[in-house]
Amino acid sequence: MTGYVIRRLAILPLTLFVVSFFTFAIARYGPGDPVTIAAGQVRDPEVLERIRHERGLDGTIFEQYQRWAVRALEGDFGESFIQRGYSVRELVVPKMIVSAQLNVLSIVFVFVIGVPLGMLAAWFQGKWIDPLIISSLLFLSAIPVLVILPPIQWLLAVRFHIIPVGGWGGLIDIYWIAGVIAVPIPNPHLYLPLIVLTVPGFSGVARLVRITALQVAREDYVRTARAKGLTETTVALRHVLPNAMLPLVTAIGLSLAGIVEGSYFTETLLGIPGIGAFTFESVRSRDYDVILATTLIVAVFFIVMNLLTDLAYARIDPRVRLGASNLS
């Protein structure tokens, strides 16, 4: 196992190199030039050349990449082209924290609500509750974010003033009782984005749990185990559980892997200063250094989470032999 982990981690630098170079190349070879954007309406080629040199955008792509990589290894991801005077790191990290906070909360709610719901549906399979739960969940998650957001926003924020229209205020808000006692409550800015993010999530999880639970309970090896005379508990813990876990582990793993990514639509429509909207704007204005830094951070998270998920596979199902080949 340790050998496996080490081998996987050893490839990490190589993967990061490929990711960064690929992103670098796509960004630079694509149409659109941040220099022309930064220069605004000015087209004098001499001026553009000067700006290009000042921002380090001249030279061959290899020279440019080398310059960037050397600084990146020291932890300096450069400066934003568009937001002058701000280093990439101080722009990107706080936004990632905002998005991550939202994502973690929504993952918690998704699984806390989704799993029991899925169980309920599986438990009552055949009776009317099962299709009711599934259908309502499906319906809620079928509505695209862009469509569901304005009505909900209007209803909760404009019509009934329950929550603010948009914006972000952190996770905790303080509610003063009688102006004396401070009670921490979840910040009202959270409600809308959480609703929008969790509903599709827990519907998917519930369906997955339902399908998996039903499938597993019917498997041969369960009947075999029972036939062998093992107690229910042993059957449950030693045979059923591990197999039922795998798809869920994948689901959790994938959710965690995307924890530093943000949903562009939700963030833009609700005015949340997260990384989703920011990444997109950076692509639009070809803010190369920001794009690179964001991509790399996401890549690191993704790869590490994948590794953890794979390790969890192996732990749960001893039949899964990681890294072993199966040549016949």
Partner: protein, 320 residues
Amino acid sequence: MTIAAPAAANSPAEAAASRGSVALFWERLRKKKLAMMSLMVIVLIYGGGILAPVIAPYSYTQQNIDQALQGPSRAHPLGTDRLGRDMLSRALYSARTTLVVSVAVLVSGSLIIGNGLGLIAGYRGGWVDNTIMRVGEVFSSLPGLPMLILVNAALSPRVDEFAKWAGRLPGGGGVVHDFASYISIFAALSLFFWVGTARYVRSLVLQLRERDFILAAQALGASTPRILVRHLLPNIAFIVVLQLSATLGSVAGTEVALTWFGVGVQPPTPSFGAMIYDGSGTRTFQAYPHLLLVPGIFVSLLLFAFALLGDAINDVIRER
């Protein structure tokens, strides 16, 4: 009706597969009311799209600027948009666009890549698995939608050429033009989005490959391709079918997102994405809710129907 399970070496789905399964499958599906209703909804909406040139009361470009932003009325059952165009006609043509996009998705092979690679990776293991997964990590760590914008911006001149050429082919025209541009886009998309599917399939295959029936087949000397196709594929069939319905269903949603980013059909060709864009925003919704509700309801219905259908198909396959 139970099928007597043969010796434990056979997997349940394989047994079903070898018995005139299509007919059986269809019969069982027909019994599920929700599935049938969903199918009807899909057929209605897509059918409306196909027949749009015939049944739409107005042309989708016909503007009556003086009649802009009206609610539902006798002349315009679903109201008019900001330029006085009939919402119902535009919705019908948008359904056609979604259909074009769906076919493009299938044809561009995005499903094949994900499932195929997942199968191979899970079964072969070793360095094959490792390579595929690492390459997948590279692609999926790239932020999908932003990368798509860049790739689209880079390729779009060539895509335009290709689409124009396709549009000029005999029997071509607007639809073929859109189709061609969408194929290119989805081919690019599939580069970034195959990894999730592949991982799911791989995890299943990792489990299955140790099962008795596989080991038996290997012992009997079956070649790898045969094992993959005859034994593994049927067992991951339910995931594939589920994906198929999920993908087709999500096409409507993806198209909306893509059009928001300026990728996809250009005006005046209508699409649900364009219609939703016109109607989005808190203030717009307050003032003219029908702009958002008309396309929103169509898209939601479509997605909902596909999801229900997918679930029902899955249930049928798993039944013994």
